[in-house]
Amino acid sequence: MGLLLLVLFPAGAAAVAYFVRSARLRLGLLVGTALLHLASTARLWADPVGPELGGWLAVDALGLLVLTLVSVLFLVVAVYAVGFLRTEPPRGGRVFVSGLLGFLAAATLVAVSHHLALLWVGMETTTLSLAPLIYHRHDRRSLEAVWKYLLLSSVGIALALFGTFFLAAAQTSGRPLLLEDLIAGGARLQPALLRTAFTFLLVGYGTKMGLAPLHAWKPDTYGEAPSLVAGLMAGGLTSCAFLGVARITQVTMAAGQAAFVQPLFLAFGMVSLVVAAAFMIGQPDLKRLLAYSSVEHMGLLVLGLGLGGVGPYGTVLHLVNNGLTKGVMFLAVGNVVLVTGAATREAARGILRRLPVSGVLLLLGLFAVTGSPPFGLFLSEFIILKAAIAQGHLMIALTVVALLAVIFVGMGAVVLDVIYSPSEVPTRGAGESLLLVAGPAVLLLAVLVLGLYVPPPLNRVLLAAARGLGVTP
């Protein structure tokens, strides 16, 4: 029952957290749950458990990656939240914590469910569990943000459900909507319905991933949500959404529909990169900037899937790196916001003098997120480029390079200005406590290590995860 427990105990913790009165106890519960979750996730690496509930719950390489990513990110965010809520008025603390824990439960469900309908339920729950967190500040802007987020994600998720039904309709044999049977019986799926299913699922989960042009909710939401929530969304929620896309990709690849799937992925990838580049130029708000950067990286993910060859390997590696890096960036920006009150260029100047540690984190994070060696993202982007060239997409490769350059200029212009320029506005709030910088620092270190050294077990899992996403011979 390990997997079921892994899903249930955060959910239970969420319920408990809602009724716990003492804030201290609540935070203890939050961090404790995160630690326990990470520990049990680590045990999954050591000795994998078999399928449960008749195969509805199981861990494969891809799920394990996403699960670990979410778990690590969540622990960091939980620790950060302790420092964050300390600076905040206590109002909403209960909802906040139980919302976080609810998200953990839902994300876990997404990661371990091998029944696509169950996966969809998990996805829905992630969406809803984060809504109150976005509305944390209870003002007009956050209200608008949560409205847009809910409307767009709900429409997307609904379309995903539509697609799931089509997938069920396409299936002629095996247990319905069970991943193993879908892949095993891939040849016997009805192609037309399968393609329809893929179309709707791509639009649905693509909306949650924030692929352009389905990304419109992202900047508004990330811009308004508290930074740690935004970080959790950019690192965790998008990874879950990508897992949804990856699952259906596994099925379609198994059904030999690569020729239908890959052009779509290429198109989404390039459009996302172009949109991100165009909207990053002269973007005055740090958090919106990061939102567009997230769009960019989602684009790279699907680009890798669309290229084939070593592309999928690059994609899964990029998934991990992107998740960690987004955590660094959003939490560092969160510290900036705590001190300056806003994430706009004018307000946030002079970071290096005001917040030395966060300033350095932000500086290094900028280079990490723009794929500079030796940070991990460089390695994954390198592999994706290699895939593009190896598959003969020279133009795509060159365009990607050009767009990455534009994106760097767009991000660098703001971030470096904010870091180095002297500030006009006065500082408010306390400086940076250890709770607020330790987490992002750890994540950054992890990203750095991943650029220099991929541990063999991780590499094995990455290879296994990539295998299903490529063209299976």
Binding site: L152, A216, A278, F279
Partner: protein, 657 residues
Amino acid sequence: MTVLLWAVGLILAGGGGVLLLRRAPRLGERLYGALLVGGGVVGLWPTLAVLRGGPTLRVTLPGSLPGGAWVFGVDPLSAWFLLAVLGVGACAGVFGLGYLAPERGHRPVAAAHALFALLLVALVGVVTAQAMVPFLAAWEVMALSAYLLIMFESEQAAVRRAGFIYIVLTHLSTLALVAMFAALSVHAEGQSFAALAAGNQTPGAVRTLGLVLALAGFGLKAGVVPLHFWLPGAHAAAPSHVSAVLSGVMLKMGIYGLLRVLSLLGAPPPWFGWTLFGLGLGSGVLGVLWALGQHDLKRLLAYHSVENIGIILLGLGVGLLGLAYGQPLVAVLGLTGALLHTLNHALFKSLLFLGAGAVLRATGTRVIDQLGGLGRALPWTALAFGVGSVAIVGLPPLNGFLSEWVIFRGLFVAGGSREVIRFAVMGAAGLGLIGALALACFAKVAGVVFLGNPRSPADASLSPGDPPPNMLAPMLVLAGVCAGIGLMPSLILGPARMVAVSIAPAIDGGAVSAEWGGAAARISAFGLGLVALVGLVLLLRRSLRQGRVAQVAATWGCAMAVPTPRMQYTASSYAAPLLAAFGPLAGIRRHREATAFHSHPVDPVQDVVVVPVWHELERVSLRLRRIQGGRVRWYILSLIFTLLSLLFYLTNSRFAP
């Protein structure tokens, strides 16, 4: 190899030490200086061994990376560049101690020293890495530590702007290199350079793409026109000892990279050689021309780096053409000349930047037209700077002449052949023009800054006295090396040729080595003769004086009142006729008012092309941004649009049932 690792360890220890001991700066900095010099000396040991024909060093770290293990090694090519890295690095580092000492307290001096050590280590890594990922990692660490050093005085808006332009272009170059390695690794098993070489011997689209990307990436780093415009600002903004390393060593990493990639890819196609040749000529002429117009001493030196990179590329181009057209002698001469000039430029350019730093510390300004007559206040600095000037202009008997001599010979020999390559001989005229313009420019710098009368009262009251020994000694050492190479070419010509041959195994060095030694001996004889003759005439001159004391008077003002310092010819008016002859190419903007006239230099690439284009791009993106208008309705519409177009693809593509 272990010795080299020890050297790296020492340097890193120095950086760490100064950082740990920032409470006791004097002790920390002394330790840092000692370790830096020690590391440099220790590191030079294996380097020279390799250059003397010793075995190639190699170490393989077992790393679990997608693509395979990490390889580091020192072959002749690496060793050649290690000379510059370690030698110049140590000198500049020591200079930095004295240079930054006055900053203690209000700027993070210790951090700057530590970053400098990191920069040196990264440079060592770049030239010794024998696999893709370690190369790129070292490359980026180099670029970033350099960026942080450039931003040392980040409270000035000009510095921030220069730093931003630098970081953007260096990131561009990194991207290009990542793409290049991605292209080259397509056909390669694993990531080591050996594997790349094995995989890319046959021409093809991928190999061509790799060559183009290499040219872009490394050209950016080397500062080839039109990709040079990040360079003047950055080198002017950085602290002078850092500028010395940036200009003297870091630019050369672009050259190193080109040579390395070419050594992997075998004989390149002719078009590549011609491209380098043309770029070299362009960079050389334009670089020195733009330098002539500068008012800022360090910007001027930076533009001269563009010029010298041009000369190096010219030699490189000739060498590659020699390879492409099967002319071994031309190939060896071209490559050897390029390598020699790389080393020489590293020496005298860093020397000049250190000199500029000394001037800056003494006077507090880099504006040439406010300086003057410093020769009396800083005699030794003036001497060192003068040596550097003669060297960079390429006049006998110093080292600059040596490398240009080799390149000229390459051009002339090429002219003698029957191949298409013979038209390369026209480059000789270009090289001559470059030399003459450089002469004009450095006559201006040396003359206006160190000779004549001080132009600002502050300098007039300057207490005579050279900078402290830890700043003066590095300059004199570098000057000595410049003179040594110039007078003893046989020391350096042999190794240079050996390195050149190691790059292109296709050619046999024997063809060249024969008459080479004779020429070298002649050159040193004639250089020494020149010096001796000057001494002789000096003695004669003494004897002519017959004990009479020379009369002393004011400069003759041509029947005018005694000239005041403000009446002296300014650097700008000195350069005016020459720049006027080149018209708009020279990039000078003049402002005339009723009572005032002043001119200031602009960079024809940056200020006329790049910046306007970027602003246009910004305007477009701002217009495009209206899409994100905040109306949730439009968000859903774009979703619907996407859904419908996908459904269209679904039902109307060739997959439609």
